[in-house]
Structure formats: C-alpha cells, structure tokens
C-alpha cells in the first residue's frame, strides 16, 4: 500500500444540490434490471397495448386509410373518450402491477439482508432520500408504462381530431395523469414496505399479490356474508377504480374503473372513503418503512 506524502486538503469544488442525491440510487437498479432478459421482454410487452391504441386512433381518424380496407366502415369506428383512456389506464396499471411485483421486492430487502444500509446512510444521504431513491426506480418504470403513453395517446388523438377536442377533454388528461400517480404511489409504497419487512424476495413478491388479490377476495366474502358493501375498503383495486371514476368524472355505472378495476353496480362506496383509505394505506407503508430503514440494526434482548 503506497503511502504518499501529502498534506490534508479538503475538496473545494462545487457540489450538486442536496435534493438531487436520491437520483443516484436508481442508477444501478436500472442497470441490474437491464441485465435480466425477462424484465426487458415484459417491459417491451407492456408497450404493445399503447402501440395498438395509437394505431387504432390513427386509423380511426384517417378515413383515406379506412377506404383502402375492403368492408371497413367509412366513418370512425372507435369512440375515443374517457372510457377509452380509463381502459388504457387499467390495462397499463395492471402491467405495472406485475412489473412492480418482479422489481419491487429486490429494491430494499437485499440491503437489509446484507446489513448494507450503513453504506448508504454513512453518506450525505438521509433515510428519506434513500427511500425516495429506491422509490424512483418504480416511479420511473410505472410512469413510462402508465401516464406517459396515456398522455401521448391523448395528444395524438387531440392533434388528429382537432376542433378543440383537447380543450373539451382536459379532464381526461388530468384524470390520466393524477389517476396514474395515485396508483404509482400506492403500489410503490406497498412494494417498498413489503420489501423492507420481508427479506426473502419471492415471499415479498407473493405478499404483494396477496395484498391485492387475497384482500379483494376477503373483501368480497365480507360483502357476501354480511350483506354490506364496506368489505370493498380492503379491496385496493376497488378503491383506486372508484377514485379514477371520480377523477375522470364518469358515471359510476359506466366507467367503473374499467377492465381490471371494475366496481360492481350497487357496491360503490363513497369516494371520500376511498381517498381516506388509500391515504391511510400510504401512511401505514411510510410508518413501516420508517420503522425498518435504520442506519444500524437495533437488537433488543
């Protein structure tokens, strides 16, 4: 080990802003994801539905193209409205859910299992920034899968349709954007909290499915046995679907969260209850993360 004769000099150069520290963390997570062929394939597959939608929107607005197809309708065959975009959001959100189940459990659990948190937290990085950095991995992925293609399709149709369509359908764009963000936040926080508490990755992934599907089934059982609708409070997809419907200003019986987030007629619960429950779930996840993300493991005996 060479010993250099140097006198101590502190680094005197410029530093990037403190808030940007969290953006360093996703760097290697994305690199590791990129090395996994299955995740790459799944991510590409998740882009198929928006691509098909883009094609349909184009064809629907391009009557000259339709005339080339024998037997095709001579007028637009597709109604591009809030139901169309809610369906898109539903499909893409479900794809995002599976992606989160694959990626999410591996974000925090290896650091905890290897006792590697001090590596991060003995840097100019606090616990919030660490969680934010890990969350950015999921937020970026889910954004690319949900609201970004959604808004691009909205723009495409707006440009092709003209006649002030965009102005009349601003509510759809905001519904897409905020609806997707609600889903992203709930899903990311749940996934990170499970990753922090369940160190075995497959178990954490399985538990994420359990939280969504088993809880939904349990909620339905409660509804059936007690002849009530309040069992839906533990059905996260029902909660998110109801909030989406309110964001898109759709009548509950028509939009109903679309496809994977359908709310059965007569089982609707007040939207404020859905909001409150989703906020509660996020707060519980944050509390779980705060309990587990510590610089040094505290062992009580």
């Amino acid at each position: 080990m060479a010993v250099y004769k140097k006198t101590y000099q502190r680094y005197a150069g410029t530093l990037t802003p403190a808030w940007s520290r969290a953006f360093i963390i996703p760097r290697y997570a994305f690199e590791e994801m990129h090395r996994k062929r299955f995740l790459n394939m799944f991510f590409l597959a998740s882009m198929l539905y928006p691509l098909v939608c883009a094609f349909l929107i184009y064809v629907n607005q391009n009557l000259n193209f339709l005339k080339l197809l024998p037997g095709a309708p001579t007028q637009g065959f597709l109604e591009v409205n809030s139901t169309f975009f809610m369906a898109l959001l539903g499909v893409q959100s479900m794809m995002g859910f599976f992606m989160t189940a694959f990626v999410g459990p591996g974000l925090i659990s290896p650091d905890l299992a290897n006792n590697a948190l001090p590596l991060y937290l003995s840097r100019p990085l606090n616990r919030k920034q660490y969680v934010l950095g890990k969350m950015l991995v999921l937020v970026t992925l889910l954004s690319v899968m949900t609201w970004i293609p959604g808004l691009l399709l909205w723009l495409l149709h707006g440009v092709l349709a003209g006649n002030g369509w965009m102005g009349q359908n601003l509510r759809v764009a905001s519904g897409l954007f905020f609806g997707a963000w609600i889903w992203i936040l709930v899903l990311s926080l749940l996934s990170l909290a499970l990753s922090a508490w369940v160190k075995w990755k497959p178990a954490a992934g399985g538990l994420l499915f359990g939280v969504f599907f088993v809880a939904a089934g349990f909620g339905a059982a409660i509804n059936g046995v007690l002849r009530t609708k309040w069992g839906n409070l533990i059905n996260i997809s029902h909660l998110v679907g109801s909030v989406w419907v309110s964001l898109f200003e759709e009548p509950m019986n028509r939009g109903a969260g679309a496809v994977f987030f359908r709310v059965a007629a007569g089982e609707e619960i007040p939207v404020w209850c859905c909001w409150a429950t989703l906020i509660g779930i996020c707060l519980v996840c944050l509390w779980l993360l705060a309990k587990k993300i510590r610089g040094a493991e505290v062992v009580r005996s």
């Binding site: 080990m1 140097k6 760097r27 590697a116 590596l119 990085l125």
Partner: protein, 311 residues
C-alpha cells in the same frame, strides 16, 4: 474543532449501549478499546448519526450527527459489516458512492482512482468485489471511507483480515492522517497495534468510559497498580539489593540473561532519583531504563481485566 459527547446515553430498550459518556476527542489517532459489547460500535454509530442518543448531545466538528448532508462531507465511516452491492467492481463501488456526495463525474472518477491507489488496489479495481479476498474487501472498505478525503475518519475494526504487511502499511496511513490533523477514530481488539497507532485511547467497559487520554497519562492515574520499570544494566543484582532497601519498591526480578532488572514501584519519581544515586556511587553501567507497563495492554488489564469486566 473536536468531536464532543456531552452526557450521552444510548439504551436499546432495557439494554445499555453506552451510558453518560462525556468525551472530547481532539485531532490525531484515537483508539476505542474494550471487550465485545463494551459500546465501541455504539459510540461510532452515535458519532456518525446512524443511531440517535437516548439522551445527551453529540457534535462532530460542531455539526450535529443528524445532519448527514453536512456531516458526511467531512466524515468517512468504515463499518464492521462486510456488505457490498452485488455485481459491482471495486472501482464502480467507490465511484457510485462518491456520486452520493454530489461531486461531478470527473471528480468522482479521479477520487475513486486515487483511493484505490492509496490502499494498494489500483490493479484490482476492475475486478468484481465479490471476487475479492477478505483482506481486499477490508481495503476496499477503507478506500470507500477515505475516497472523499474526509476530515474525520471513523474506522470500526479496520485491521481485521489484513495480512501483517498490509497491517503495517495501514497503520502507517493512520499515523500519516493523524499527523495531517485529521481525526482518526479506530476501534481495535489488537492491543499492541493500538499502541503503535494511537495518540490517545478511550477505554470502554460495559457501556461506560473507564479511561481516556494519552496512554502514559492514563497509566499514571492507575495508582493502585505499581508501575513496572525495566532497567538494563551490567550488575542487576547489586541494583536490586540497593533498591529493596526502599519501601516503595514492591518487586525486583532479575532477567535470566543477568543483564536486566524488572522493578515494580509505587513511586516512579523516587525510584529514578535513587537509580541516579546508585549509578553515581557504584559506577553501574546502565544501558536503558524504560517503563514496562505504559502500554494499552497493561492499562487494559489493570482497568478492564481478562474477563472484560471492570477491574
């Protein structure tokens, strides 16, 4: 500018981590010494903000440890834990964590390279950390702690796993950093190496600070244990007979080679005066006079004992 602990206690539930610690750690190399569970790592985790004190206040160069953005621009921490992110080379490991300091890309590349050179890992930098030996992982952890050129270095058992050559070189690095005016805080179980490294020591036992300061000062405060002095001379029997006339000399043992005398006395100053007189009167040829228990090992034995309990 020091590291200050003001009446700091840390409890893990009902279990004591450290209790009522009052310390001021000046620049230089400071060793934390104590048996397992004495509170060394707790003290290090407290000063780096990885855990918070149950009571009391800590300031590291006047920065509270709960401000990582300010603290870790000045502080490097090499933890005891042997954990690394998967799939990274040594260079990538250093580079990626340097980016967390907010330094630009080119600066991070240069600092990572310098740190690798400094710990003698320049050639192994492009190999995966997972393929490193125990000693190499220890060195890369050290490089990780020093890469951003911190003013305060907190090193938990940094000599573990190093071969003798690497130990000697690492100790030379610690001394160099200490002489540069940095705070180097080291915990170690290897007491003879602590002697070579340290400007001052902090002895811990069962969560309490048993003693602190320069080792000679600590030894002189242990008044219930007679001081040991080794005199190398040509007529040790003569010297022993003269010294035994004094009531403060409690033991004199002649070395097997008949050229040394190990003395135990309750009053070193009077012994030195007497030694001068004997030399003047008898023409005794003295080769060397040196304290035999002014080292960490002896002080550790006197204050903490073999079993780790406070003596």
């Amino acid at each position: 500018m020091s590291i200050v602990f003001d009446n700091v206690s840390r409890f893990y539930g009902e279990v004591l981590g450290v209790n009522r610690v009052n310390l001021t750690i000046p620049p230089g190399v400071t060793s934390l010494v104590g048996p397992n569970g004495s509170g060394k790592s707790t003290l290090m985790n407290l000063m780096t903000g990885l855990i918070r004190p149950t009571q009391g206040e800590i300031r590291v160069l006047n920065i509270p440890p709960d401000e990582p953005e300010r603290l870790f621009q000045l502080t490097g921490y090499c933890t005891q834990v042997d954990a690394f992110p998967r799939g990274l080379t040594g260079y990538q490991f250093l580079y990626s964590y340097l980016r967390l300091h907010g330094k630009p890309d080119a600066e991070c590349r240069q600092l990572a390279t310098e740190a690798l050179e400094r710990v003698g890992m320049a050639e192994a930098g492009n190999r995966l950390v997972a393929a490193y030996s125990k000693g190499m992982r220890q060195r890369i952890k050290l490089a990780h702690a020093i890469a951003h050129k911190p003013l305060v270095l907190v090193l938990d058992e940094p000599l573990n796993g190093l071969d003798p050559m690497a130990r000697a070189e690492t100790i030379a690095l610690f001394r160099e950093w200490g002489q540069e005016g940095r705070h180097v805080i080291v915990s170690s179980h290897i007491l003879h190496e602590v002697d070579r490294i340290s400007d001052q020591v902090i002895l811990l036992s069962h969560g309490y600070v048993v003693a602190e300061g320069q080792i000679q000062g600590v030894r002189s405060e242990v008044t219930d244990q007679p001081i040991q002095i080794l005199v190398r001379c040509n007529r040790p029997h003569l010297l022993a007979s003269r010294l035994f006339e004094q009531d403060h000399v409690v033991e004199a043992r002649v070395d097997s080679d008949n050229k040394g005398l190990l003395l135990r006395t309750r009053d070193a100053d009077r012994l030195y005066l007497l030694l001068n007189r004997v030399v003047m009167e008898t023409g005794l040829e003295v080769e060397s006079v040196a304290p035999a228990d002014e080292d960490v090992n002896s002080v550790y034995q006197y204050l903490i004992g073999h079993d780790g309990g406070t003596a």
